[in-house]
């Protein structure tokens, strides 16, 4: 029975998926977009319930032969991905219902399957479970990326969702193979597939190669330079509400794997993985920020900005101590609400055939003041401007990295952040300063989409004004994974 208690979150998500499947099969087939939304609301309600329950259910302990741990760390990451799924479901609800009123069960089922993988990943304490969960997360995403493949773009061309999905799939499959090979080498080094065993193993050359391969494999999934090429193309091609989810939740899971493997498992070998990780962080910050500058498609712009954001959070992982892990979590929490919100605003503002270019934002302040205000908050948060949660996130990450002796990377990060401000300000310029008098229809966010944006906005502003509770929670969760007094191998 206690095993079930520890495993309650994966079970709850799986149960919700089964429920959705049953409702979809048993409900009458003659559904319109209107009645069809009910399924989306059911998913959202279920996820909200799970999120709420995570504050009262104590799942700490080990289960499944010691391969799954349900402690504070796991719960924190689970809250992040479930929260992201909830916001993503609210944001996608109308889009899905309008696109395929008769087949939307597929969308939700795939989404929940992917989420099931995400909630297992942080709890995995065994490399085999880790890989299985990680794949469970990844495979449904390939399908979901192609969801909008019958769309037409503004100028009537075939949508690029097919290309988006194909790129995501090919890259994802390659990364899986690389990750698996790396994990095999690590298992060989440790003689066991358990994470605890990994921490005690002496380093071997093949083990070091394994670390590099795993870093590359996970790096693909989170869009880390030099494995980032799929990001802008996929973001541009897939349906925007799905991209909102894709741009945050898998990255949370991917980074939790990095923290699990490298900081918790291979912390003593920091000397081996720090140089490549630090270099990847630097490249991500540089390439992301610089290539975002000339973008004129908002989805590509946010894609490159996301690559840059990954660079910053990798700095916290590179710190390699409890504070670094805590700040990784805090950064990810901020990133989820901010980036998801930004994509949802882009989706809402592009309604009515306006496309996703910078010019789609023209005059937004007048056409949709609420969307404009939300966009302002999200972009400032992404840019790391005070009193938006993104400022604290960047601050903590940089502080943790500096404390761990990475001052050079921190200075580079700050300089690049200022450069990056330019492209965020350009979007604001389009939304607030350029106005063509009333020639296009006013976009109207549907209730669900509006609710999702409002929740993100409240989180960005609220946590920006008072970040203390979240920082404390993230720190507690990190202590669960990495004891603050654990010996950390310095460079």
């Amino acid at each position: 029975m206690s095993e079930l208690r520890v495993l309650w979150m994966p079970l709850a998500v799986a149960g919700l998926a089964v429920l959705v499947l049953l409702v979809d099969v048993l409900a009458p087939p003659d559904r319109t977009a209107r009645t069809g939304r009910a399924l989306g609301w059911l998913v959202a309600a279920g996820l909200a319930g799970a999120l709420g329950a995570s504050f009262s259910v104590d799942g700490s302990g080990r289960a499944a032969l010691g391969t799954y741990d349900g402690g504070a760390w796991t719960t924190f990451v689970q809250r992040l991905v479930v929260g992201a799924a909830l916001l993503g479901a609210l944001g996608a609800l109308d889009d899905v219902a309008a696109r395929t009123p008769k087949r939307q069960g597929e969308y939700w089922l795939l989404l929940l399957a992917s989420l099931l993988g995400m909630v297992i990943v942080p709890g995995a304490r065994d490399l085999v479970l880790l890989v299985v969960a990680f794949e469970l997360m990844g495979i449904p995403l390939y399908v979901l990326a192609a969801y909008a493949k019958n769309d037409r773009t503004v100028d009537g061309a075939q949508s690029r969702a097919g290309e988006a999905a194909f790129k995501l799939y090919v890259v994802g499959a390659a990364s899986t193979a690389v990750t698996l090979f790396g994990l095999a080498l690590l298992t060989g080094m440790a003689g066991t597939s358990s994470l605890d065993g990994l921490a005690e193993a002496p380093a071997t050359p093949l083990g070091t190669l394994g670390m590099l391969l795993v870093l590359g494999g996970i790096g693909y999934k989170i869009g880390m330079v030099p494995f980032h090429m799929w990001v802008p193309d996929t973001y541009e091609g897939a349906a925007t509400p799905f991209v909102a989810f894709l741009s945050v939740a898998p990255k949370v899971a991917g980074l939790s794997v990095l923290a699990l493997l490298f900081v918790s498992g291979l912390g003593v070998h920091r000397g081996a993985w720090l140089p490549p990780l630090g270099l990847a962080a630097l490249l991500s910050m540089g390439v992301g920020n610089l290539l975002a500058l000339p973008q004129t498609d908002l989805r590509r712009l946010l894609g490159y900005s996301g690559i840059a954001q990954m660079g910053y959070v990798l700095l916290a992982v590179a710190a390699g101590d409890a504070m670094g892990v805590g700040m990784t979590l805090f950064f990810l929490a901020a990133y989820v609400v901010t980036n998801l919100g930004a994509f949802l605003v882009v989706h809402a503002a592009s309604g009515g055939g306006r496309g996703h270019g910078l010019d789609a934002m023209h005059g937004l302040f007048r056409r949709a003041p609420f969307l404009a205000l939300a966009l302002l908050a999200f972009l400032l948060s992404l840019a790391g401007i005070p009193f938006a949660v993104g400022f604290w996130a960047k601050l903590y990450v940089l502080l943790a990295a500096w404390r761990a002796g990475l001052a050079g990377l921190v200075v580079a990060g700050i300089v690049l952040a200022v450069l990056g401000l330019f492209y965020y300000l350009r979007v604001l310029q389009a939304a607030y300063m350029i106005d063509e008098e009333g020639e296009r229809a006013t976009p109207r966010a549907s209730p669900a989409l509006g609710l999702a944006i409002a929740l993100c906005l409240a989180a960005v502003v609220g946590l920006g004004l008072w970040p203390a509770p979240l920082v404390d929670a993230a720190s507690r969760a990190s202590v669960d994974l990495v004891h603050p007094s654990a010996p950390v191998a310095r460079r």
Partner: protein, 512 residues
């Protein structure tokens, strides 16, 4: 109420901004009254803070402490030192005058007042913050709304791009409408980045797990760190203070900003930069200060003279005032670099004096521009006959600008040059005094060309003088200049213990 006075001063504009945000945009009068009320509460609070400051006791008073992120030692710590009162008063005066001067704004006024009030909350916050990180937070809040304020309501498109920024502009095909706003924001944020790096270095080196300015000042930093960190703080904050050669955002930015924003920016925001250099850079890093102070002083002297010469060659009225700000901020930095009580008193007094004076200048330029629709001096002339009130106040501002005894400008320049002399810095004092002389030439030339020469020409016969609320703005600022000129003790009494308190730390450290 009384023990939360500083929170009220900082919070009132923010609360007013929230109220304005909730009002419908059709409630034009309501928006203005709410903004004015918020500003007035802060002004009244500032007066109370200034009057209630116990000069005999000195030091930090009215301390308030709210934990923000206790895990890292970040606290919302407010307290008033000797400098705080006068600077709060300046900010209060300028924002009230700024709201009055924007009364006739006719474009998206709800957003305008919200941003203006948020910005001024940030300014108040900087002057009373005793926690370095919170100081930086408020500093950013004061700087960032500028982008939207200038970009949306300003005449940014009238400023042509030049230099490296123009290159970037073309490359990214941004269009040149928001050039000045973007240039200003990016330059100031590069400065902020430098400040943030220095803050990190100090926080982690001090080992105190606290951002409290007192704790940070009590820690001892290695000499190498001090020498490396001081330029970051000096140039980081100094960018906002218009330190040469990082002043280039200022003329473009001020020339393209709407009236109230120019008033606030030149009147108050540039002071944040100078205040930051003194309060953070110099007080926390005594050894770094001693090492770099010859450079700081020399650059300040260049500022004074170079700004004055630039102003002399301008033909656009707003550019003249903008370059004069660069020149006058040089006086502030010059005073700071003397490391003498007289110099520091003069520097802080100059912040207030120049703030009020330049606020008055920009208010008047805005009035003239609104009526005449031109800022080209060559087309003006003889305006004194049609707008006598504006002409009188403009002349008053000019007299203070050139440092005529009996105006606030005289007191500060006198103190600064006295400090430079006492400190044995003749090479700074002489260019400084020369700069004041050049100032006299260009301001008098401009006044004569606009108001007193022959004219006005046909097109300008029906220019109206100041109206209702505009009188309010002019009267508040003009009175301030004269009162401070005749009764400088009003501010110098509290400023002096503040300067002595902060200087004592530096001098003790330097003597060690």
């Amino acid at each position: 109420m009384n023990e939360h006075l500083l929170s009220v001063i900082v919070g009132a504009p923010a609360a007013a901004a929230l109220v304005v945000m909730l009002l419908p945009s059709s409630a034009r009068l309501g928006i203005r009254l709410a903004s004015l009320l918020g500003a007035a509460v802060s002004l009244a609070g500032s007066v109370a803070a200034l009057v209630g400051y116990d000069k005999a006791r000195g030091g930090l008073q009215r301390a308030e402490d709210y934990p923000l992120v206790p895990a890292l030692g970040v606290h919302l710590r407010f307290a008033l030192d000797g400098w705080g009162g006068p600077l709060l008063l300046l900010t209060g005066i300028i924002i009230v005058a700024g709201v009055l001067a924007s009364w006739t704004l006719g474009k998206r006024d709800k957003e305008f007042f919200v941003l203006l009030l948020v910005l001024v909350s940030g300014v108040f916050g900087v002057f009373v913050s005793q926690d370095l990180l919170v100081f930086f937070l408020f500093y950013e809040i004061a700087v960032l709304p500028m982008y939207l304020l200038i970009g949306i309501w300003g005449a940014s498109h009238e400023v042509r791009a030049a230099g490296p920024f123009a290159f970037v502009w073309k490359r990214f095909k941004v269009g040149d409408k928001q050039y000045a706003a973007m240039k200003l924001t990016l330059m100031l944020l590069v400065g902020s980045a430098a400040i943030l790096v220095a803050i990190f270095a100090l926080y982690l080196q001090s080992g105190a797990h606290s951002f409290d300015l007192g704790d940070l000042a009590a820690a001892r930093y290695p000499r190498a760190l001090q020498i490396a960190a001081f330029p970051l703080l000096w140039l980081g904050f100094g960018t906002l203070a218009g330190v040469f050669p990082f002043h280039t955002w200022s003329p473009d930015g001020h020339a393209s900003a709407p009236t109230a924003v120019s008033m606030l920016h030149a009147g108050v925001l540039m002071k944040l930069g100078a205040f930051g250099v003194m309060r953070v850079g110099m007080v926390l890093l005594p050894e770094g200060t001693r090492f770099w102070v010859p450079v700081v002083g020399a650059v300040a002297a260049i500022n004074v003279l170079y700004g004055a010469f630039c102003a002399m060659s301008q033909t656009d009225l707003k550019y003249i005032v903008a370059y004069s700000s660069v020149s006058h901020m040089g006086v502030v930095m010059l005073g700071a670099a003397t490391l003498t009580a007289a110099g520091w008193n003069g520097a802080v007094f100059q912040m207030v004096a120049h703030g009020i004076m330049t606020g008055l200048f920009f208010a008047l330029v805005g009035l003239v521009y609104e009526r005449a629709h031109t800022r080209a001096i060559a087309r003006m002339g003889g305006f004194g006959t049609v707008m006598p009130g504006v002409a009188a106040f403009f002349t008053l501002a000019c007299l203070s600008s050139l440092g005529l005894p009996g105006t606030a400008g005289f007191v500060s320049e006198f103190l600064v040059f006295l400090g430079a002399w006492q400190g044995g810095h003749l090479f700074w004092a002489i260019p400084g005094i020369l700069g004041a002389f050049v100032t006299a030439i260009y301001v008098l030339k401009a006044t004569r060309a606009i108001f007193w020469g022959p004219g006005p020409s046909e097109a300008f016969h029906d220019l109206a003088d100041a109206r209702r609320t505009e009188w309010g703005a002019l009267l508040i600022l003009g009175t301030g200049l004269v009162v401070l000129g005749f009764w400088p003790r009003l501010l110098l009494d509290p400023i002096d213990p503040g300067s002595v308190h902060h200087l004592a730390r530096i001098l003790a450290e330097v003597a060690r």
